[in-house]
């Protein structure tokens, strides 16, 4: 019941002032601990910023950083993680990406390792072309 009162609607997200929204979203998170919805609210304000409201640049940076760095990442948070690249320093973002997507990173590393092991035995496109040229010349 209480959560219903503190949730925000689309009109509030796109018409309230940045300072008011900052208070409302922070309060929403403090009372509900619902990190998924809080991230979705912040992403909606990022859309608003890109549509023209420049005062939303880096909006609620502390809360976003707290959610990604110190709480358990939910599926929703992972889904929208890449939209918040500008909230983190590049090395911090890479480390966080490793933490959030361990399987994907393992697969990427494994495939690059396999590729590097195969590269010495894989025929080179250039040499193949040269060989063809040589055979046509003879």
């Amino acid at each position: 019941m209480r959560e219903q009162k503190i949730t925000l609607n689309q009109s509030q997200l796109f018409h309230l002032q940045a300072s008011t929204l900052e208070t409302r979203i922070t309060r929403f998170y403090q009372l509900t601990q619902n990190s998924s919805t809080a991230i979705q609210y912040i992403l909606a304000t990022k859309v608003r910023q890109q549509l023209g409201a420049q005062e939303f640049k880096g909006f609620l940076k502390d809360l976003v950083r707290h959610l990604f760095l110190h709480t358990k990442a939910t599926r929703t948070m992972k889904r929208f993680f890449h939209y918040f690249a500008d909230y983190f320093m590049a090395p911090e973002f890479r480390a966080l990406r490793l933490k959030l997507f361990p399987v994907r990173n393992f697969m990427e590393k494994a495939s690059s390792l396999i590729r590097s092991l195969l590269s010495p035995v894989r025929p080179n496109e250039e040499t193949e072309a040269n060989e063809k040229k040589e055979t046509t010349e003879t």
């Binding site: 689309q10 909606a44 859309v47 549509l51």
Partner: protein, 70 residues
């Protein structure tokens, strides 16, 4: 005053109108479409289990000219 007016489809297939005042009109149409699609992708607002912003249909800039008469 210029407004960005967009039509979204709800998850029931009905039209849902949405507007945003004073947008940056210099944005490329593809950029605006991408932003509205990102907003729709949030599936954030529901009413009676119906997603209000499910897919984006169309968008236009609407300029209102007010002429005082007295």
């Amino acid at each position: 005053m210029t407004k960005l007016v967009a039509i979204f489809k709800t998850s029931e297939g009905k039209n849902h109108s949405w507007s945003y005042a004073n947008p940056d009109t210099t944005k490329q149409p593809s950029e605006v479409k991408g932003l509205l699609e990102r907003f729709a992708g949030l599936k954030l607002f529901k009413k009676d289990n119906v997603v209000l912003f499910d897919t984006v249909e169309s968008a236009e800039y609407v300029e209102t000219i007010e002429t005082p008469i007295f």
